[in-house]
């Protein structure tokens, strides 16, 4: 293998595949497979759960392949002068030449590198990237991390006709998003469950692009955009029938300002976060009273104006859940619909967008009697 490229393009491509790394810093054990075919360099990295492939146009002198440590290669290339870089490889080492700099980096023969199974998606659909990322941002955060509940460890893509629903839950919160209208998706109703990691990468990496292609068959899925392909296994635990838990008869409705509620909740959270994040809310006609009582730390209360129709209601909520959820609402005015102190409540934006609908379910805390 032998090719030349410019330093900046190579750093960019390496930075992209490094996103597969489990931690924020690039994982020391992450290898990248460099492969030259025609006039293309393919960079592939995997952590076994997610595999990313980036295509980069280079000038290929000789076809071939070698896997090297991603972090080390990236660090070397970053430090090189901004100039043309020549990379060549035998079976064991990658040689890097750039002006007066010269490196021989030990590699991993491509046989040792994980071989990707051939993947032919049986279905491919194009999705508007900005909307999809918005949907993912509103759902990935509330996926359950509880390993004993594998059925809710992923995000559900529920596709039917012209509607794509992306939903998630940790059994205490539930996020619902729905894209519908102009896009012709699939005739047959289809449900796939995707582990959050590949989606987190997508949120971070695919913001700039126009369209994202989602492809899948019965085992694998793929996201494709620009020069990037992301692969992952489908999560094979059937998702619970979420429609049944969405209440449709919540008659106590409070309208309020999102930031006023968020601010007051954050203030209460200073005391409540030490224990169970327990916060009590009292909904009255024109006012919402929030308070915390903690034996360890003390007490606090706050009030915000609301527009409320329904019975006077005293209801407990986890303040941390509200703090994570409220910023996901794009509208400044929000609507909170409650069934009762022990029933699921719905928080939604006052005004809905044309093609994107979303809301959140939040289960209350049962207050000690």
């Amino acid at each position: 293998m032998k090719f030349t490229t410019n330093k900046i393009a190579l750093v960019k491509a390496l930075n992209k595949v490094a996103a597969v790394s489990t931690r924020t810093a690039v994982d020391d054990t992450l290898y990248v497979l460099l492969e030259t075919v025609d006039n293309m360099l393919n960079l592939t990295a995997t952590d076994l759960q997610v595999t990313m492939r980036v295509e980069q146009e280079v000038i290929v002198m000789e076809e071939g392949r070698l896997a090297v440590n991603t972090k080390r290669l990236l660090e070397i290339v970053k430090e090189l002068p901004t100039a043309t870089v020549e990379l060549s490889a035998n079976e064991e080492q990658l040689e890097i030449n750039c002006e007066s700099s010269h490196f021989l980096l030990n590699g991993l023969s491509s046989e040792e590198f994980l071989r990707l199974p051939a993947f032919n998606p049986s279905v491919e659909i194009g999705l508007p990237s900005k909307t999809l990322i918005k949907m993912l941002d509103k759902t990935v955060f509330c996926v359950s991390k509880n390993e004993s509940r594998p059925e809710i460890n992923g995000v559900l893509f529920d596709i039917h006709g012209k509607e794509l629903r992306v939903v998630s839950t940790d059994s205490r919160r539930f996020a619902f998003t729905s894209l519908s209208g102009t896009y012709n998706l699939l005739q047959d109703p289809t449900k796939i469950v995707i582990l959050p990691k590949v989606l987190t990468i997508l949120i971070k990496e695919a913001e700039e692009t126009e369209e994202i292609t989602l492809g899948f068959n019965d085992r694998y899925l793929m996201f494709k955009y620009d020069n990037v392909q992301l692969f992952s296994l489908l999560h094979d635990h059937p998702y619970p029938e979420y429609e049944r838990v969405i209440p449709n008869d919540n008659t106590n409705i409070a309208k309020m300002n999102r930031d006023a509620l968020l601010g007051a909740t954050k203030r209460m959270n200073v005391l409540s976060s030490i224990g169970s994040s327990q916060m009590t809310l009292e909904f009255n006609q024109n006012e919402l009273k929030l308070f915390v009582t903690s034996e360890e730390t003390g007490t606090g209360d706050d009030r915000i104006p609301i527009n409320y129709t329904g019975e006077n209601l005293k209801i407990g909520f986890n303040s941390s859940f509200l703090i994570s959820l409220l910023p996901k609402l794009d509208n400044e005015e929000i609507k909170w619909e409650m069934g009762g102190p022990l029933k699921a409540s719905i928080i939604r934006p006052m005004e809905e967008e044309k093609d994107l609908k979303y809301y959140f379910l939040l289960m209350p805390l049962k207050l000690p009697s």
Binding site: N146, S148, R172, F174, Y242, K366
Partner: protein, 389 residues
């Protein structure tokens, strides 16, 4: 005015056996570990005691002392069941009840009775209620301090009621030998004898400086107790601080590595942990598994979850998955002791869950009912089937 009432069941295990099998009533019977072998007498009826049978006596000696003795193998589950019934009755008379042992309790009557006279009639009422509902005899002791009330009970035995008012300590309390006091064992008794202290009264009159020189801080408390100034409170449920963790462990009859049997033991331990958690109204965030192998190497594996939970089925699933992980890492290792604990409690509000799966929905409802059954009929009255493997 502080008023403490002490209840002590008379020949408890033997009396329970007589209630269950009335043909034993009035006869010399003794409860022992096992009828055959080297077992000793745990309790005996008063008819047996009159013939010289004593607690702790080997069976063959008891047979010698009383050839007509009827031996009964003890069954702790029966006694626990009756013990719970007794405690439940006592809680009707005071909200501050301390279960001091399986057959003994203290009741704090401050604010319930205005003087010892009233306490006395309440004491008779308690005796009558226990006798009527459970057919069991007991003795009641009443005083202004816990330790004196306990001494009063021993003076009232059997089936009696005895009151020691503070101004009559000289008559009923100070005349007793020091060994009657809780906490004064044989060696302390000998040490006191050397100081010429034989009765509780001697102890009450001894210079505190001498006692402190000989026994340190304990010397001070010994004198206080002899003076009838027992400062200890009736430790009832409302006074006990909520636990920071709950755990149960057991050493296995023999070392095993069989996954199914280990899971069975684990299931049993989980039921005990879950029961206590539920009774305390707590929910946990952290589970820790303790395993000691046959070479006495002990490991503790902890796992913390992202929210608080309290269902027994989920607790078992999680514990079993931790155990499975350990077995997979140590497939050939035999286990000597296994323990399971939970911590990171939340006592306040409980996070509700969306009814997403039937299992999760049922877990809490089942745990609630099972806990109530166990409270009433004993821990082993209802178990998960996998504990029986």
């Amino acid at each position: 005015m502080n008023i403490i009432l002490h209840v002590d069941m008379d020949a408890f295990f033997a009396s329970v056996e007589q209630v269950i099998n009335p043909s034993l009533l009035g006869k010399p019977i003794a409860v022992c570990g096992a009828i055959e072998g080297r077992s000793i007498i745990t309790t005996s009826s008063y008819a047996a005691r009159a013939r010289g049978v004593k607690t702790g006596m080997p069976i063959y000696l008891a047979r010698k002392a009383c050839p007509s003795i009827i031996l009964v193998e003890g069954d702790h589950r029966k006694y626990l069941y009756y013990s719970m019934q007794i405690m439940n009755i006592l809680k009707r008379f005071s909200d501050r009840v301390e279960a001091y042992s399986i057959d003994e309790a203290f009741l704090d009557l401050k604010g319930i009775c205005k003087d010892l006279e009233e306490a006395k009639s309440l004491g008779y009422k308690i005796k009558k209620t226990i006798r009527q509902e459970l057919k069991l005899p007991c003795t009641v002791g009443i005083s202004q301090a816990k330790i004196v009330a306990k001494v009063a009970t021993s003076l009232g035995k059997p089936d009696g009621l005895f009151v020691i008012p503070k101004n009559e300590l000289d008559r009923h309390y100070w005349t007793l030998p020091v060994k009657e006091l809780v906490g004064i064992g044989q060696s302390t008794e000998v040490a006191l004898k050397i100081m010429n202290i034989n009765t509780i009264g001697d102890l009450a009159n001894a210079p505190v400086t001498d006692l402190i020189r000989r026994f340190g801080k304990n010397g001070y408390w010994m004198k206080q107790i002899a003076l009838g100034n027992d400062p200890s409170e009736v430790v009832h449920d409302g006074l006990q601080p909520p636990p920071k963790s709950i755990s149960h462990s057991t050493t296995l009859d023999q070392d095993i590595k069989d996954r199914g049997r280990l899971r069975a033991v684990l299931s049993y331990l989980v039921s005990k942990v879950a029961q206590r958690m539920w009774v305390h109204g707590a929910s946990y965030r952290t589970i820790y598994l303790v395993v000691r192998d046959s070479s006495f190497k002990t490991v503790s594996i902890a796992r913390t979850y992202d929210g608080h939970d309290r269902g027994e089925a989920l607790l078992f699933l999680r514990s079993a998955s931790i155990l499975d992980g350990w077995i997979n890492d140590n497939p050939a290792t035999k286990v000597r002791l296994i323990g399971i604990g939970i911590s990171g409690f939340n006592y306040g509000a409980y996070q509700m869950e969306l009814p997403l799966s039937r299992q999760a929905r049922q877990d809490l409802a089942v745990t609630d009912i099972v806990t109530r059954v166990r409270r009433r009929f004993g821990q082993n009255s209802i178990l998960r089937a996998n504990a029986l493997v």
